[in-house]
Amino acid sequence: MKTQTADKTKEVANKTEHITGSEAVIKSLIAEGVDVLYGYPGGAIMPVYDELFKFQDQIHHVLTRHEQGAAHAAQGYARISGKVGVAMATSGPGATNLITGIADAQIDSTPLVCITGQVASHLLGSDAFQETDIVGISTPVTKWNCQVTKASEIPAALAKAFYIARSGRPGPVLVDITKDAQISELDFKYEKCVGVRSYKPIPKTNPDSVKAAAELINNAKKPFIVWGQGVILGEAEAELKTVIEKSGVPAAWTILGASALPTSHPLNVGMVGMHGNYAPNKLTNECDVLIAIGMRFDDRVTGDLNTYAKQAKVIHFDIDPAEIDKNVKTDIAVLGNSKESLAMLAEVLNENSHDSWLQKFKDLYKIEYEKVIKDDIEPTKEGLTMGEVLKQINIESEGKAAIVSDVGQHQMIACRYADFNVTKSNITSGGLGTMGFALPAAIGAKMAAPEREVVAIIGDGGYQMNIQELGTIFQTKAAVKIVVLNNEFLGMVRQWQQLFFDKRYASTEMTNPDFVTIAKGYHIQAKRVEKREDLAEAVKEMMASKESYFLEVCVEKEDNVFPMVPSGASVSDIRLS
């Protein structure tokens, strides 16, 4: 493999020194600007941990309580910082425990470098203690991976790993290093990778395709923008705002696109998808030009593809050529980085407004408000709703908190009702839908942005999937706020059982432990709220705390999340009840 390296590397050890492979790992991480990594030691990675001990003033290692927690924490760190998250584990079970986080990062385009120890090279393939073929196992869920069996290969492999993880459409990479490679010595010199032959991370934007897109938008009567995480990954929030404001086009977001444009922006018409807002789903099938920006037409967004936006001309902006025509046939494809392509688009767009078309979104929002939103955030019935908890968090955080949500009903409620006034504020498991994501991801998010309020919104099911990470919170003093919305059910599955399986609640009811006592066992402040009159004060107290805080809110057991596009149905068939 031919790689290209930078002529000048800043803050990089460019003088040659004779060191061990383990020290080379640490010095390579330092050269890449890594200041924190998440992991769990074990036999096959011990030499690296031993070196890490010597460099603890330069790299902060966070001992999570499970390798899955390490991968998710690294994801949370990456998502809020925009930098590469790093996770480390030993061979065998340590490595396989990372896989869920790696798969999650792959589908959500999160830059991760995972380093795993491996048995000594002479034992490879012999079913040695804690040997697994982690390169084979991780191949389908990594952007790239490799196994290093010689110390001399370590710097180049890690340089390439960081380059691939962060460039173009980001993603997770895995570098597996045999124990003998960690122990033996090399002449170390680190050169950052700046290119790999055969890998073109950012396709060039064709000005003609931008012009063609602008012409279509300029002449459209009912144009509609749907943006995704590509805007955030490309740091194109300002360019998106300019495009939207200049063209006057109503714009909606996918779950991972949330927060690229403030919730309160007058042209922000809400979330698309299965539990998105009524208007943007319904009007997808009325627009004449659909402008997709940095989104991949996930099936949770499109519903039935045979009826999705069939009347519209489709323009697709994306960095990944493989996304074009993958799910939805595109009329105009604009390849490239969203920051550049949107800036080019803004130049050639006409100043415009679409007041009557925008009014249709507002009219449908009124219907949604009366039938769904009002009861969710200002309920009059006795039981607490998830929506009113989010409303209180909005009030106390002024919409500036980073919301880290797990997967389930509470996730949809968090995405629907949280105010996102700052970019990179919605950290959630989108594509993989990984329960157990939020608690460790919140730790990483808080470490990446200690100045920001980080609030994890979790269901009682997902909370117990990685509840052990309370230990990490206690040990690291990461001041995350944990809100468990407890309905004593696997709520989303129960909702489907109610709607589509004749209320047969097969294995979804949960008998839960005393969460407050558990949190207190980890020396984390904790409170349980069961009544509406106690909610506002409890949220206020939580948000005012300078330390980590656990708040359990006992919500209605059988509340449902609406609107809803039933699985496989058309987005026009979105249900309000």
Binding site: Q147, R197, K200, P321
Partner: protein
Amino acid sequence: MNEDIKTFTISVYTENNIGLLNRISAIFQRRHINIESLTTSRSEIDGVNRFVIVVNITETNAKKIVKQIEKQVEAIRAYYHTDDETIFTESCMFKIKSSLLFDEPQIQNIIKESDTRIVTVNREFFVLEKSGRRHEIEALRRDLNVFGIMQFVRSGRIAVTKDEMKVTEVLTAFNNQ
């Protein structure tokens, strides 16, 4: 719209790295596409390998597959072609009892008429080799089967395109980016 399923030859130029075969075959596996044949070898460019993969799919799927393959970091360029756009062949070998070569004169006729080559002959067996289209190889196999075949093996398809594949230019562009 129901599209016709056709035979496509997918050619992939890649770096010569461990593990790439897994990555490429996984792309087909995920989509539940059966690979009819797969051949890998070095290509006309030093340090660059070439995969020749034969699949029966729709053209829309062929396009998507090629994009997914090109997305792999170590894949340089992928192409798909119909049979009409390629010159292709397969090879096969038969191991047959030597006594039959002398006892069954029909076998000698078959060898002559099918343009098959005798690779080796010894006391126990002789070995035939033939290159050609799949149907020619299958016809030969049917003809020889009645006499008894000790061993049979067929290679995957190898193919070159009628049009030029400008991989060298792609590589130059990569190197200069």
